[in-house]
């Protein structure tokens, strides 16, 4: 019954008119910045952090958290409508979501994304309320060797994302990893591939590559294509999910929630890793894997549920241990410190109102988001009926502003143009951008954890097989490889045919 009382306390905090208002402001702002390409939650929370110092602690935290998961919802909207993944976690959503939109199912895709996110958010909030401290312990057990094996598993799973040539997909992953090495090496402070440019010291921003390859590259090839390529959306049909659709997406959504909830606990690429391992899982479980990449509803439902669940469970290490698992969580800790509060195990006992208030607000935030987003679906879909000749100049302008505003750095815009050219080239060569982006996100983590694991073990590579967690992921990776390679051998003769259908 203690849990019940705690939750009651939480809702009594979260349901005060002021906290509700800040929560709504947060999710609204989050949705807006999520929809706008390039602007991410980290930048927005940074801008708004000083504003929240004047607010009481629960209101400040509720609003910042709202921005964070609001941005997760909003990010999928742009990914589905115009193939522009603004957040790294919506890269996967773009693959099938955009194809659905082009088939005239934009409304269905958006509603599916919103509903699955809500399901995942609700379940993840319950998990946080019930088991946060215990789960935080599990996260601590993960050592560098375990992370390495997990990332390796993720990278192999990334190959499944590809629906064309596997060799090219692996190549694009490697190009992405190579791009990820740009910047100051954390271990030795050596500047790698920075060409002496100071702002390259922290590497290239994810949004620069995503805007370039997806936004600009895609537009170039749309404009260059035939009239058919320019007719954006054929005809808009079934705006809302029907019973048959719900039956199709409910299982992927639940599986995605489970997978995402677990991966969200881990620092680094939680939501990203969650969204594409779920995609890989669904593609493998599906009876019709051929539909994936061409507008499969499961390819939207699973990853959307996964990234939202992960976004919620990412709060666990921060709330229970005071350890940030991502840049956003580090900002949250900064916000708490400015309030004179110290995040950590004591927080739950010292300020139960804050702890439980935030948890209650998470669920309320998700509810507000689904209420906010479902009516918006109709408006977004209308937006697609704007003639393409009006739409693409706007997309270009938004991309430019988004990229520029990351660091107020014009060089980033120039870089985005270069990646735009590269994205177009890649498309012409039938290389897909998604594996590159995932390599770019996972590559630095793989290098970091590999080097760290070997430093800790003093150069002994058996550490990867003697630690049970690491070993399990390596076994899974191996199984995945077999699953991947087996059909490849079978269809080698048909490959040329398959590629030409893309």
């Amino acid at each position: 019954m203690e849990l019940f009382n705690d939750l009651l306390l939480g809702f009594s905090v979260a349901l005060t008119p002021m906290n509700l208002a800040y929560g709504f402001l947060g999710v609204l702002l989050g949705t807006i910045i999520g929809v706008l390409p390039g602007l991410g939650p980290v930048a927005t929370i940074s801008i708004l952090l000083p504003v929240t110092f004047a607010l009481p602690a629960p209101a400040a935290l509720i609003m910042l958290a709202g921005i964070y998961y609001g941005a997760q919802y909003g990010g999928s909207t742009t990914a589905i409508l115009v193939n522009l993944p603004g957040e790294s976690s919506s890269v996967v959503t773009a693959i099938d979501g955009y194809q659905m939109a082009r088939k005239g199912q934009a409304g269905l895709a958006l509603a599916t994304a919103a509903l699955c996110s809500f399901i995942a958010g609700t379940l993840a909030t319950i998990v946080i309320a019930v088991a946060a401290p215990a789960l935080a312990e599990v996260a601590l057990d993960f050592g560098p060797a375990d992370y390495f094996s997990l990332m390796l598993f993720g990278l192999v799973a990334a190959v499944i994302l590809a629906h064309g040539s596997i060799v090219k997909a692996i190549g694009m992953i490697l190009v992405g990893i190579l791009l990820g090495t740009i910047g100051i090496d954390a271990n030795t402070s050596v500047e790698r591939f920075t060409f002496g440019i100071p702002s390259f010291g922290d590497g290239i921003d994810f949004a620069v590559i995503a805007m370039g390859m997806f936004g600009i590259g895609e537009t170039i090839s749309n404009l260059g294509g035939s009239e058919q390529g320019r007719t954006f959306v054929k005809e808009v049909k079934n705006l809302w999910p029907r019973w048959a659709d719900i039956k199709r997406f409910i299982k992927p959504a639940l599986r995605g929630t489970a997978l995402g909830g677990c991966l969200g606990l881990l620092p680094g690429g939680g939501p990203v890793l969650a969204s594409f391992s779920t995609y890989a899982l669904e593609k493998k479980l599906s009876k019709t894997p051929g539909e994936f990449g061409k507008g499969a509803i499961e390819g939207v439902a699973g990853p959307e549920a996964a990234n939202n669940a992960a976004a919620q469970t990412a709060f666990i290490p921060m709330l229970t241990l005071g350890l940030p698992s991502s840049a956003v969580m580090a900002l949250m800790i900064g916000a708490l410190m400015m309030q004179g509060l110290s995040p950590g195990p004591q927080l739950m006992n010292q300020r139960p109102d804050l702890f439980w208030g935030l948890i209650a607000s998470m669920w309320l935030g998700n509810l507000m988001l689904v209420i906010l987003n479902l009516p918006l679906v109709g408006i977004w879909v209308k937006l697609l009926s704007v003639p393409y000749r009006m739409l693409y100049p706007a997309i270009m302008l938004f991309c430019c502003i988004g990229v520029y505003s990351i660091h107020n750095n014009a060089l980033d815009v120039v870089l985005a143009a270069i990646f735009g050219g590269f994205g177009f080239l890649a498309k012409k060569l039938h290389c897909e951008p998604a594996p590159l982006l995932l390599g770019f996100i996972l590559g630095p983590m793989i290098e970091e954890t590999l080097r760290r694991a070997l430093l800790i073990s003093h150069g002994d590579p058996t550490v990867f097989v003697t630690r049970p967690i690491s070993l399990s992921f390596l076994v899974l990776t191996f199984l995945l490889l077999i699953v991947l390679v087996a059909p490849m051998i079978r269809v080698t003769r048909q490959r040329a045919f398959e590629e030409s259908t893309d």
Binding site: S189, L321, M337
Partner: protein, 338 residues
Amino acid sequence: MKAQPTATRRAVLSGVALAGAVLAAGLTSALPARAQADYPNQPITLIVPFAPGGASDFAARLLQPRLSAILGQQIVVENRDGAAGNVGMDLAARAKPDGYTLFLGNVGTVSINPYIFSNLRVKPLQDFIPISIVADTPGLLIANPAFPPNNVKELVEYVKARPGQVNFASPGSGSVNRLEMEAFRREAGLDMIHVPYKGGAGPATADVMGGHVSLMFVTISSGINHVKGGRLKALGVSTKQRVPQLPDVPTMTEQGFPKSVSSSWQGVLAPAGTPQPIINKLHAAIVEAMKDPTIKERMGESGVIAVSSPTPADFKAYIEADAAKWSGVIKDIGVKAD
């Protein structure tokens, strides 16, 4: 790639109507002669070379309201993060030396980075005039609770018996916490393996907590809660006297390592060429601001000591000594990015 609009874009003058208060005010500084007497007559930008939420931002945000009140002008905190703080430092060094752009330097940017990054354009000791230190955070030697040694003496014995087998973590290869450990390691003659992390103290602390790495130096503010909560144990603090927040933790000096006195500090600097009267005025204002009980209390809660320098020259001497110390350690262990 330019200095922030406030400092550079005189051309916007015609657009005062459009520009916000900050921008508009930044432009009238085109008349330098008059500026000194009635300084400050427009908002002052304080460049923080790290993202919001970090230790430097924390100090700046606490200082901001009180300093604004004393000077009668708004202090605008601008976060310009990137490349270990070098991006913001470079920007501040090239700003107009009129007292309207200040820099919140710290031990990393001012005392360490010049010796780690050989292609750094900024020479902090020449390109800035130190005004005053504002915050001082001692280092804390922490270890996993299951790690056998419970104090520095036991640690030395333990590591001496196991050369090259004990790992220590750090928030980065050029971080002050790493250098603190390196200095201690050399003084005690210990052979340990350095495991660098990135992304602040969080990830490294997590791995010490999880038992993947045995020990590390952190700032008191990032370690104190975990020590109080029993997730980590503290072996020593790097101060001359014990700190009030952790009265049971002995100093490194007490335990036979008097050279292990160090801290992470933040201080305010102005671009070289800023007129002396302005420096003096700012110094007096900062000293006044740091007396504020709420600042002291807020900083104290996080284990940070609110301080100020008696004169700007004292702060300069402090930085010189600090830089000499860390550059010596860096040269000894050979961390250099070439």
